[in-house]
Every structure is written in structure tokens, then in C-alpha cells.
Symmetry: none
Amino acid sequence: MKDKVLIRMRNWIAESGLVKGERLPPERALCETLGVSRAELRKANLVLEAEGVLERHVGRGTFLSKAPRPVNGHDAIERTISALAESTGPVEAMQARLALEPELAKLTALHGTPMQLRKMRQLASAMRAAPSWGAYEVLDSEFHEAIAAASGNSLLLALHKILNGVRLTVVWRRLNTSDGGPEASYHSFDEHDAILNALEQRDGAAAEAAMQAHLKSTLSMMGAASSPL
Amino acid sequence: MKDKVLIRMRNWIAESGLVKGERLPPERALCETLGVSRAELRKANLVLEAEGVLERHVGRGTFLSKAPRPVNGHDAIERTISALAESTGPVEAMQARLALEPELAKLTALHGTPMQLRKMRQLASAMRAAPSWGAYEVLDSEFHEAIAAASGNSLLLALHKILNGVRLTVVWRRLNTSDGGPEASYHSFDEHDAILNALEQRDGAAAEAAMQAHLKSTLSMMGAASSPL
DNA sequence: GGACGTAATATGGTCAACCAAATCAAAAAT
DNA sequence: ATTTTTGATTTGGTTGACCATATTACGTCC
């Protein structure tokens, strides 16, 4: 893809240890290092030059012109969430959760610490007493994120944060947060408990199945058809 | 000098009266209007595209962007990749793939179009002939992204792009790209074929299993212990 | 040994030819 | 008469060859 080289060039710069004013390797060398054609590298560098990141001089070389902007991971993730929420509907978000969260639950059954499991229990309890749907959704979001956090994989946690953020954004759009919260018989309560029971039993398959059942139940409550198998 | 074409292109756009989403004249016509070479015009348009001002599509033309959001999202994803790659090791990236990519393969068996499957076949073939590990990794990345793209869920595709971007970044750190490429007996080749066979048979469970086997195989090649079940 | 001039080499820049994707028009099939 | 297929054309994308600028190496002179 055409943006791939640009991404890789950004990363190369970030990891190069070069300081402002220092000279990059020649294009002909760097394009081999990156495994791209020189023309593709030049395109990426053209964009970076336009952004003020690089300065390029014929016969002299390419130089880092300014300190690269520090990459703030939290900001980047927030922006990513905002952008994705613009092109994601509630059902699609739900289906994406169905792909990822059972896998997370499976890993959490293996990797979750007692402290992390206790926190999930507290969140599940708090959800039963949620005074509004708004409060419920926040707690639910935290519950699911706590599961992801206990998966033992920071990259999966980050991916889940994005997924969770998109989902929460999409949900907030149509939620009347001043409504009274869920009834005591709300289906998710028992489903959360089933997930937690499996996690506490360290039963990965049961945790995965419980999470699947929970998300499918929620998906069907949304009036969405099940996947046409 | 080199910024003159960019400035002239900006002015041309401002004075064109074109509305968001409208199509610009073809490059070959517009470069004559501006009195510059097509290559020079293309450089200017590359920068404007990176800024989100223009959208360029092969065979269709160049358009004034409807909204800057897509590039904002793209930029945010790039930054997210950069940030996450700083805190992710190769094994962790691999394990995250193991959580997500079999699920994607399962969905792709259901949703993938014949054209998308053909593209994967082409990529798998190209990988067998990769002249270097660097080229192989790029093709492999594209292969796995093609699978994610065929899953039918744009949010999962975005998550996979992040995962794939992190993975590629992490891999590049330790890859000697000038090495000769993989041998004909490299294990991933047959594993890719097994995945594709399952996808073409529309067998979701087989696709999921084949992807799991492929990723586990790669993970074990990395010298990592399997998950301690 | 140092200064100067020239040639060779290195580095980024440009371009015409060709490639890849999409659209349109004409021919063939139903 | 309508639909589908095929070929031609249009449009943006890529690449190797060559160009323009800067640096380095070498030879000559003092």
C-alpha cells in the first residue's frame, strides 16, 4: 500500500537515534534497508519534507530538520477511536467484539491475577446497582477492559481499548443517559457472573464460551440477525 | 523551485470553484494548464493527498476530499502503531496475532469475495518468489491484511491494520533485509496454502485452525514457549 | 607540504516509457 | 430489445535511465 512506506519511514526515523540536523543514509542505501524502491522512498520523503520533518539537498544528502514530534500513545489512541467511531455502527462494533473478546477471556483465565479478578467482581456488582444506563455503560466498559487488561498482552489490551472506545462512543450516541438503569433481571448481569465464574475457575474454554454467549445475547437484543452461517 | 508547483496547485484549487467531492481534470490535462510536467504535478498532489486535501484513485481520477477525516484517522492509526511498537516485543505481537487472526480467517471464509481470495492467492505466490526477507515480510503483511480486509468488518480491519503495523515495525527492527529470502521449503508457504484452501472451501473452522497452526508454527520458530496450559 | 584545478564519484531530482486499475464503447449473446 | 462480454481508452502509479548539484580524490604546480 502506498502509505506503508511512509509509516515505515516514520518508524525508521523514530528508531534511528538520529538527532536534529543529522544526516540520513543515502536514498539508494536506505531504500534497500527498507526493502522498497527508491522512487517509493522518495515519495515518503517528499511528504516528510513537506511536513518539515526532513530537509533534502542535492549532492549533500537528506537531514533530520526538526526534532520529531513526540508520539503520545494515549492521544493517538483517542484520535483513532474518534475516527473509527465515525465509520462504525453499533452492530459492526458488536460483531468486532465477538471476534476479539472471547479470545481475551480465554487468555485472562490463564493470566489474570487474583487482584484483577477481584476488581472485575467489584465492577460486576457495581453494574447491578447502576443508577442509570449511562452509569451502567461506563461500568460495563470498565468491566470488559479489566478483562482485557488481565489477558497478559499489552498489545491486545491496546487493541481492546480502541474497540471499547469505539463501542462506547457509538453507544453514547443513542443512549438516553438520564433513563433509569437496568432492571435486576437484565440479562447481562448473570452473563457477567458466568464469565467471572469461568475466569475464577481458570477455565479458558468456559470463559470464552461465556463471553461469546454474553455478546451474542447482546447482539440479538440489538435486533440484529445472527451471522448467516 | 520545488514548492512552486505545490503553491500553484493550492491556488488553482482555491480558484477552481470545485466543491468537496468533485473531480479535478486529469493529471495530463491539468499539468498542461499549469505549465508543469506531469511528474511535478504528481509530487504536488502527493503532498496534498497526504494532507487530506485530495483523494486520488487509479482509473477514476483525482477528487477534492469530501472531508479531512479519513486522513486524520489514518494519521492517528500511524501514530498509534508507532507508540505501540515502542512497547511491544516480537513474541507479544505474535501472541496478539494468535488471538485475532484466526477469528478473522473464520469471518473471511464467510465474507470473502472471489476477487479478494484471488488477491490472496497472488500474494501467496509472490511470497514464494520473494528475493529477500524484507520483500517477503512486506508481502506477508499484505497477505494477512488482505485476509482482514475480507472479513466484512471495517472495525476489525482497522484493528488488524494496527496489529499488522506494529508487527511489521517490530519485525523490521531485527531483520537483515539484504539477506536472501526464504528457502522453497519455508514452512509458511504450505501453511499459507492451507489457509487459502480452507477459505476457498468456505470452511470457517478449517480456516481458523489453519491460521492458528500457521501462527503457532511461526511462534515456535521464534523460540518462544507455547502458552503454559 | 600546501594550494589549486580537474576528474571522478556521490547524492538528490526529473522524466519518458510502461504498468495497473477503472471506465466506456462496441460486439456478441440471449 | 436487453444483457453480457470483450476490447479500447482513460486515468493514476511505478520505474530505470538520465540529469543536476555537491563532495571527494587525484594530479600538478609552487
